[in-house]
Point group: C2
Chain length 189, copies 2
C-alpha cells in the first residue's frame, strides 16, 4: 500500500481525503503464480498495482499465446484496451509468480476522478507515462531486428530470462521460440 501511495505522491501531493479514500477502497489480494487476472470476453473491472511479483499480458493468435508485455513489481497492471474502452477483452492477464496486488474497480477510479480533482492530475501523468512506454515498445518491435530486441529485453528486464520460459520471451519479441533459440546460439547470449 505504501509503495502505491508513494508512486501517486511523487506526482502530486495527496490530500487527506484522497489518501483516506484510497486506503479505504483499495483491495489487497495475494495470488499464486499462473493465476488469471483477466480473461477474454469479460470487461476489465480492476486497475491493479503490483506490489510484488510479475505479470504478463497475452493474446491468442491461431491458438498460440503471444505475450504482449511483462510488468514488474512497483507498476500498474491493466488491459489498456478493455479497461479504458469498456469493451470485452481479447487479452489475458496472468501472474507469472506469486503476486501481491492492490486494486480499485473502474467505478471506484471514476468516482475518485469526480471527487478529487487532484486525482485527475495523477491519472493523467500515469497514463502519459505508460503511453510513452507502450509507444517505445511498439517502436522497438517495428524498427529493431529481433536480435537487438532481445538484447534490449535483457537490458530492461534483467532477471526475466531466469523467471519465464523462453517461448514467452520469443512471442513477446515477435519471433518463434526456435528462432530465438538459434539467435542465442549464434550470439552466445
Amino acid at each position: 500500500m505504501e509503495a502505491f501511495l508513494a508512486v501517486c505522491r511523487a506526482i502530486h501531493p495527496l490530500s487527506e481525503g484522497l489518501e483516506a479514500e484510497l486506503r479505504r477502497l483499495a483491495r489487497l489480494e495475494t495470488v499464486p503464480a499462473r493465476t488469471a487476472l483477466l480473461e477474454p470476453g469479460s470487461v476489465a473491472q480492476r486497475l491493479y498495482f503490483l506490489e510484488t511479483g510479475l505479470v504478463r499480458g497475452f493474446y491468442l493468435k491461431d491458438g498460440k499465446e503471444v505475450t504482449s508485455w511483462f510488468m514488474p513489481e512497483g507498476h500498474f497492471v491493466i488491459s489498456i484496451l478493455s479497461f479504458f474502452s469498456r469493451q470485452p477483452s481479447h487479452e489475458y492477464l496472468q501472474t507469472l509468480a506469486e503476486c501481491r496486488l492492490w486494486s480499485l474497480t473502474h467505478a471506484q477510479v471514476q468516482g475518485l476522478y469526480r471527487q478529487f480533482a487532484e486525482f485527475n492530475c495523477i491519472g493523467r501523468v500515469l497514463t502519459e507515462r505508460y503511453y510513452v512506454l507502450s509507444e517505445q515498445r511498439a517502436l522497438d518491435l517495428r524498427m529493431l531486428p529481433a536480435a537487438e530486441r532481445y538484447a534490449r529485453l535483457l537490458r530492461d528486464f534483467p532477471g526475466l530470462v531466469q523467471q519465464v520460459p523462453l517461448h514467452l520471451l520469443a512471442s513477446h519479441l515477435g519471433i518463434t521460440a526456435e528462432t530465438l533459440s538459434r539467435l542465442r546460439a549464434r550470439r552466445a547470449g
Copy 2:
C-alpha cells in the same frame, strides 16, 4: 478553434477562465503540404490540433521512411515520445496536405494543468483515448496478416488511398511497396 473547443467541452465543461486562456494562447497556422512540423533531434515543443488537412508521423529505418501513423482532421497531433518524455525526437511530423493547425506549447499546456484543475480531466481523457488507439494499432500490426491490415486501413481511413502514395501506406502496414502492390493484385483491391 471551435472544433478544438468542442472536443474539450465534450469531455468536461470549460470554465470561462479556461476557455479565455485557450483562446488567448492557441496559435493558428496554415501550412502547405509536405511541411515538417517536427524534425529529429529537436524536442517536440507544440501540441497541435488539426482543424483541416492530413498529417503523418514517420521514422527513418536504414535510410528509408517508415510511416508510423496518419492523423485526419479533428484530431490532435504530437510525437508522443518526444512531447511527453521531453527527449529529442527520432520522429518526423509532416503535413500531407494543406493544413490548418491550432497549437499550444508544452509549457503552456503545463501551465494550464496547474492553473485549471478541470484541464487535467480533459488531458487525462484525451491521453487515454489516444493511448487506446495506439494500442489497437500496435495490436493489429502484431496479430493480423498484412492483407487484413490493409483491409482495415481502407476501412478506417477511406480516401487515404487516394491521398497518399502507395509506399507510405506500405511502410505503415509494415511491408514494402512491392509486397503491397502484389497483395492488391492478388485480391483485386
